[in-house]
């Protein structure tokens, strides 16, 4: 009797796991949470990718324009997928792309940029991932859209796609 009961519990649990995993598979990897409290960008100092100089966030976001902060890494496979779209976005004059190189090997990151092109007006190094955490990031890739008042308008988790590009274009109009 006791045996049957435990069997029942195990089976229920397993079916539960199955359903979760099954749903997880069909879930899109991209997802944009609602930003409940509109947050300002954090104040920070970060190291520049090219010059290794430390830059202040006020200097980085100094222009009166829209910014996209994109968290990427050379080892991240979905980043490769979204990269051409970022290149496209970078041609848009009313937007600046800031790359946040997340826990990456510097040489590999350089190779990555040499190979796929550089859509960023500035790349910052985030070696231990703390900067990304300050932005409120969950992983790589992730993008934050920042308006002229330096508030985070939208956050996109996972690689961006054509739809999101259109949405971004609408937002910055």
């Amino acid at each position: 009797m006791k045996n049957n009961f435990s069997l029942l519990i195990i089976i229920t649990f397993l079916i539960f796991c199955f359903v979760i995993f099954y749903k997880g598979l069909n879930n899109s990897n991209t997802y944009a949470p609602k930003v409940k409290n509109i947050k300002s960008i954090p104040v920070f100092d970060a190291k520049d990718f090219n010059s290794s100089a430390y830059l202040n966030s006020q200097k980085i976001f100094g222009e009166d324009t829209f910014y996209i902060v994109n968290i990427w890494a050379s080892w991240c496979v979905p980043c490769r997928k979204e990269h051409p779209l970022l290149m496209k976005l970078s041609k848009n004059q009313s937007i600046r792309l800031i790359g946040l190189n997340y826990r990456d090997n510097f040489d590999n990151a350089k190779k990555f940029i040499n190979e796929f092109g550089n859509p960023y007006s500035q790349i910052l190094i985030d070696n231990d991932g703390t900067l990304s955490v300050e932005f409120g990031a969950y992983g790589v890739p992730e993008s934050f859209i920042i308006d002229k008042n330096k508030k985070i308008l939208k956050k996109i988790i996972g690689p961006i796609n054509e739809e999101i590009v259109e949405e971004i274009k609408l937002l910055i109009k």
């Binding site: 199955f18 990897n29 991240c76 590999n108 190979e115 992983g139």
Partner: protein, 626 residues
């Protein structure tokens, strides 16, 4: 072209032979006699041959850069060195699954040869359970990930192998790891067969222990190779990152380690049968679960080759079929141990092994929850979280202290009923360890109490195992070596994490950078021309506190076809520490950017893991004393 066809058709033939094997086995099952029919052996061998042919056709296509094959086109390039052309075979989803199949069929054939003294029905049932797994993988390969897809028109050049995969450690990491992973499938099948035949006994324990050891050794080395690769190539500045994929390889290792210890009890006392069976099932399930999580794209990581949902669904369904099958078998056939035998005296070898199991289960649940919980939370509440290193460190590291202490005491206990012998010498060893670690830690870190406790526990295990090795005259050397390796591993990891340092700066030729512990002198650069790249070599002299000088020569390579700039780090490894230096151009400037790291005891991490697996090997080749 031809190789492609041959590979594809021999794969299909191998698949058909699975059914033939099942048919003959079922017929043979009720035949009288103690030996299985010779036909089964021959067909199993033929199946292996077909899979080998198929695998080597793929290797050949890679060597010949036959871009009419889609897998080759996606993952190879004509200019790659031969070594990486070959390793490219399993550096992708399709090829690596073919390797799975190869190891699966190889192991069942070896099992049939090596189990001649075992009961016939048990052997046939093992074969049948294994064939269920093999058929599943054949279907998976043929339906969703055929490595022999044909491309027309034939491309003239391939897309190339990801440069971070072009590393010697990574080239052999997958095959070794697979030998470990897939080895657990044999343990799974045979434990199911043993349960149905009510054969979970001392004899079975002795026979299956070899397979457990083989899988364990390969899994240990496989994980280590992955870690070496992450250290040298990924340059994340360490060797373990609690990345989901790393966790996934660690989980079966934990259950397999627990299983290994249970088997030792089983072969002596014929108890803990439920533990053994459940651990065998869990170990393989976790390996499969790992394959699912990595290959389905549910997790994003370095190992996610392709996001194809149909593949994910296939493995998911297959995984749950196997879980339900094994659950069914377990609940229908398994008989509990004799109750009276299961009452262990509190101070005995059995109890200490049981304690070890509970530690392993605890570590397993921490790693499992940390890895899977984010997925569950995402689905249920659309909330995304990520679980990082602090979670694992906080939950695992403190529990290493009691584990290390139990590891030092447990093996000294006798079976059934025991008392602690040589109490005085143990106490003295313990005092020495505490004092030694106190004096080392005092100058190094702020958290004195915690680190002293941890390091003393590790030293305690270190000294007791060393003593055992010499005093007991290699009586139970395998165990001592493995435990010694483990203590060394913990010690090297601890000191490595406490003592590592890093310097990043910009420097130009002829300049000297002086920091608190020494100085870096940039002597000169030298240019060299090779056929496919030009390189700039920097000569650096680094002086440390003791006025000792090392010369490091990092390199910047400019490849010509296509133009890619790469930096080659120079790593000087000594017994005490690794010195790591890498340099880069700074845009439009005469300065170079350098990163200099000192990582103490790096090499001891690898050595101790090798010792750990060497302990396993010794146990494998140990003659049975009786």
């Amino acid at each position: 072209m031809l190789a492609n066809q041959i590979g594809y058709y021999s794969l299909i033939l191998g698949f058909l032979f699975s059914f033939l094997l099942c048919g003959i086995s079922i017929k043979d099952f009720n035949r009288s006699g103690n030996q299985i029919s010779q036909n089964i052996l021959s067909i199993s061998f033929l199946q292996l041959v077909f899979v080998i042919v198929s695998f080597f056709s793929l290797v050949l296509s890679f060597i010949n850069s036959d871009f009419s094959n889609e897998t080759v086109f996606n993952n190879s390039h004509t200019t790659k060195p031969l070594f990486y052309k070959i390793s490219g075979t399993w550096g992708n989803h399709e090829g690596s699954l073919l390797l799975w199949l190869l190891v699966l069929t190889l192991f069942i054939f070896l099992f049939l040869i090596k189990s001649r003294e075992q009961p016939k029905k048990y052997r046939i049932l093992t074969l049948l359970f294994q064939q269920v797994i093999i058929i599943g993988f054949f279907l998976f390969v043929l339906m969703t990930s055929n490595p022999f897809n044909y491309l027309f028109p034939i491309p003239t050049e391939g897309l190339g192998l990801n440069p971070i995969l072009q590393d010697p450690a990574l080239a052999i990491h997958p095959p070794i790891l697979y030998l470990g992973y897939v080895g657990t499938s044999i343990i799974f099948s045979s434990s199911l067969a043993a349960v149905t035949q009510n054969y979970v006994s001392k004899e079975w324990g002795r026979h299956i222990k070899k397979w457990v050891l083989v899988s364990w050794v390969f899994l240990t080395i496989g994980i280590m190779l992955g870690s070496i690769w992450a250290y040298y190539e990924l340059g994340w500045g360490g060797f373990w990152f609690w990345d989901p994929v790393e966790n996934i390889s660690l989980m079966p290792w934990l259950t397999l380690t627990a299983l290994l210890h249970c088997i030792i009890v089983l072969e002596r006392r014929a108890v803990l049968t439920s533990w053994v069976v459940i651990l065998s099932i869990t170990t393989f399930t976790l390996s499969m679960c790992g394959t699912f999580l990595v290959r389905s794209g549910i997790l994003n990581s370095v190992h996610t080759f392709a996001n194809d949902p149909t593949r994910g669904i296939f493995i998911l369904i297959f995984l749950f079929i196997l879980i339900f099958l094994s659950l069914g078998v377990f609940f229908l056939f398994h008989k509990e141990d004799n109750k009276s035998k299961n009452n262990f005296f509190w101070l005995s070898r059995e109890t200490s092994i049981l304690i070890n199991n509970w530690f392993m289960m605890y570590f397993l649940s921490v790693v499992l929850i940390g890895t899977v919980y984010p997925i569950f939370l995402d689905i249920i509440s659309s909330e995304k979280i990520s679980v990082g290193t602090p979670f694992y460190v906080k939950l695992i590291v403190p529990f290493l202290i009691p584990l290390l202490l139990f590891m030092s005491l447990g093996p000294r206990l006798k079976w059934i009923k025991s008392k602690i012998e040589n109490k005085n010498s143990l106490i003295i060893t313990f005092m020495i360890s505490v004092m030694l670690s106190f004096f080392i830690i005092k100058n190094l870190t702020t958290d004195l109490l915690f680190y002293t406790a941890l390091v003393s526990a590790a030293f305690f295990l270190f000294f007791t195992t060393v003593k055992e090795l010499f005093i007991k005259k290699f009586n139970n050397a395998a165990q001592s070596v493995a435990h010694f390796g483990f203590s060394l591993l913990i010690l090297s990891i601890l000191f490595n994490s406490i003592l590592s340092s890093e310097i990043i700066t910009n420097i130009k030729i002829g300049e000297k950078y002086i920091y608190s512990k020494g100085e870096i002198f940039f002597k000169k650069t030298e240019e060299r021309k090779e056929s496919n790249f030009n390189s700039i070599i920097g000569y650096f002299e680094i002086k440390d506190e003791n006025e000792k000088t090392v010369e490091l020569k990092p390199e910047i390579r400019i490849y010509n076809q296509p133009v890619i700039i790469t930096s080659e780090a120079d790593i000087k490894t000594t017994l005490l520490e690794d010195k790591f230096l890498v340099m880069n151009f700074v845009k439009g400037d005469e300065y170079f950017n350098i990163r200099y790291q000192v990582k103490p005891f790096m090499i001891w991490i690898w050595i101790s893991v090798l010792l750990l697996s060497f302990g396993g090997l010794m146990s494998l080749f140990k003659k049975y004393e009786k």
